[in-house]
Amino acid sequence: MTKERIALAMVVVLALLPLLFAAMGESYYLTVATRMMIFGIAALSLDLILGFGGLISLGHAVYLGIGGYAVGILDFYGISNGFVQLGVATLASAGAALFIGAVSLRTSGVFFLMITLAFSQMVYFLAISINSFGGDDGLTLNAHSDLGLNFGNTQVFYYFVLACLAFFLWLSFRIVRSRFGMLLRGMKFNESRMIAIGFPTFRYKLTAFVISGAICGFAGALLANQTLFVSPSIMQWSRSGDLLVMVIAGGMGTIVGPVIGAIMFLLLEKVLASFTTYWGALLGMVLIALVLMGKTGLLGGMAKGGRPHG
């Protein structure tokens, strides 16, 4: 089965899921599933740079935060137009990614990892320090983004998020098959060769970084709409770690894998958390065991980049 087929099957299953929940009389599950899809979009955005570009960003949750706060702050000032809110959320995240990428992509490898982490921490502390927008306690929204749809209805919101997920899946498949996507893969495996044949690699990496940040910011805006609340904790560094785990567990460089990874991750979190408050430690043990046994990537995933060529 090709990745597109898997993605299509997943979208179909997700589209039918509300019927099942309705039959079970468990409408709460719908909220949980919506959250999973939102994180699926975020994980997918990370896969574009991690799986295809080989860039290990350890600060990707920052765009969730920026997207969420964009919606929250506009709402705070009484601007509830959904097109404006989602647009600003996406653009603001793209802008932040442009800045962060412009600095961090000048370096590589472990530098890149640490710098993306540091910048996400900067925005995290910035959000904490601004008391007008709730500081540490976060910001409660007055209303959902107004797109003419009733986001207060969990079913409506669920299908809206599903439509977004389907759109971003489709978009990502297009991108990775395009010339841009081919080049991205080429740079991941052998950047010096790409430079030698005439590609100015920096601007392409930066573009990928910005696209990825923008999509993740959009996911952040969705997240704010779901909970009607944003707080600095959505961009805590461990959240970025969670996103990495989702992508890698689902299969890097497969686009649909990370979405499934996100769903599995949040499902596991829910299940484990119902047994113990120490589910983080359990997750940690699973992670270590998986790496030590050399088993990562539900959907196989592509070869990892960044290793020297022999």
């Binding site: 052998n190 010096s192 030698a196 044949i197 060529h309």
Partner: protein
């Protein structure tokens, strides 16, 4: 400003490069004639790879000028030189092992386009990339291996692909850094045949240790010893040059 087109495609003037105490390039003057195959020979450590890297732009000379088609290029970064018509192959095979042979070539074809900010069309089905790539594939004799990941090629095939990637960018000047490195006799013959077939179609500057190949292919040979060109000329002249015999061929040339 109609300047007459010179016969010299690449010209270096007094290129110098040192690493700490080691002088890798000690004032190199080189003229590469348009359309020729110019070989540089010299003992190990003479500074051959350093010279190629300076020409291709991976290294910057400490001083001196590089003129390409009469224009100075020493300030241009590697990717711009590549766009201007330089292409280099590497001594250590530098292909993308994870991608197929055809994808490697298609990427090189793609590098000729003004930019790759094209997010929509499926590159793997675009004839404007695939057809030129297939054409190069034929030239390098790997038509049957198009969809094999480059990592699975034999060493000789990888060497051919290495040259193919450079060719696919349609360069004016091909810089070959030891194209025969690590090949067995059969593989070497294959690469020599390939080089003979493209010779004359574009200008080639080649570094090579294999003297049989050099004397069979080269129009002009320059001898680099300790960062200096000690002789330059037709193969017959080089073979007869007493300095060259003493400095270089004397110990290795008999083989």
């Amino acid at each position: 400003m109609a300047e007459p087109m010179s016969d010299v495609l690449l010209e270096t003037r007094q290129i110098r490069k040192r690493y700490g105490g080691i002088v890798a390039s000690d004032g190199i003057d080189l003229d590469v004639q348009r359309g020729s195959l110019h070989a540089i020979i010299g003992p190990n450590g003479a500074g051959k790879t350093t010279l190629i890297a300076q020409l291709a732009g991976q290294l910057r000379p400490d001083s001196g000028t590089i003129l390409f088609d009469g224009q100075p290029v020493d300030r241009l970064p590697a990717y711009q030189r590549a766009r201007g018509g330089f292409a280099r192959s590497f001594q250590i095979t530098n292909v993308i092992l994870e991608l197929t042979v055809l994808d490697n070539l298609a990427l090189a074809v793609q590098a000729r386009e003004p930019h790759s900010f094209r997010f929509w069309t499926d590159a793997s089905r675009d004839p404007s990339l695939r057809e030129p790539a297939r054409h190069v594939l034929d030239t390098i004799g790997l038509s049957t291996r198009a969809d094999v990941p480059a990592g699975q090629l034999s060493h000789g095939e990888k060497r051919a692909l290495e040259i193919g990637i450079a060719l696919a960018t349609e360069p004016k000047l091909l810089l070959l850094d030891e194209p025969l490195a690590g090949t067995g006799p059969e593989e070497a013959a294959r690469v020599v045949k390939l080089l003979a077939s493209i010779k004359g179609q574009l200008t080639i500057l080649m570094i090579e240790h294999d003297m049989d190949a050099v004397f069979a292919l080269a129009d002009v040979i320059s001898v680099l010893v300790s960062g200096r060109i000690i002789a330059s000329g037709l193969p017959t002249a080089i073979r007869a040059n007493p300095d060259v015999r003493r400095a270089y061929l004397g110990d290795e040339g008999a083989a």
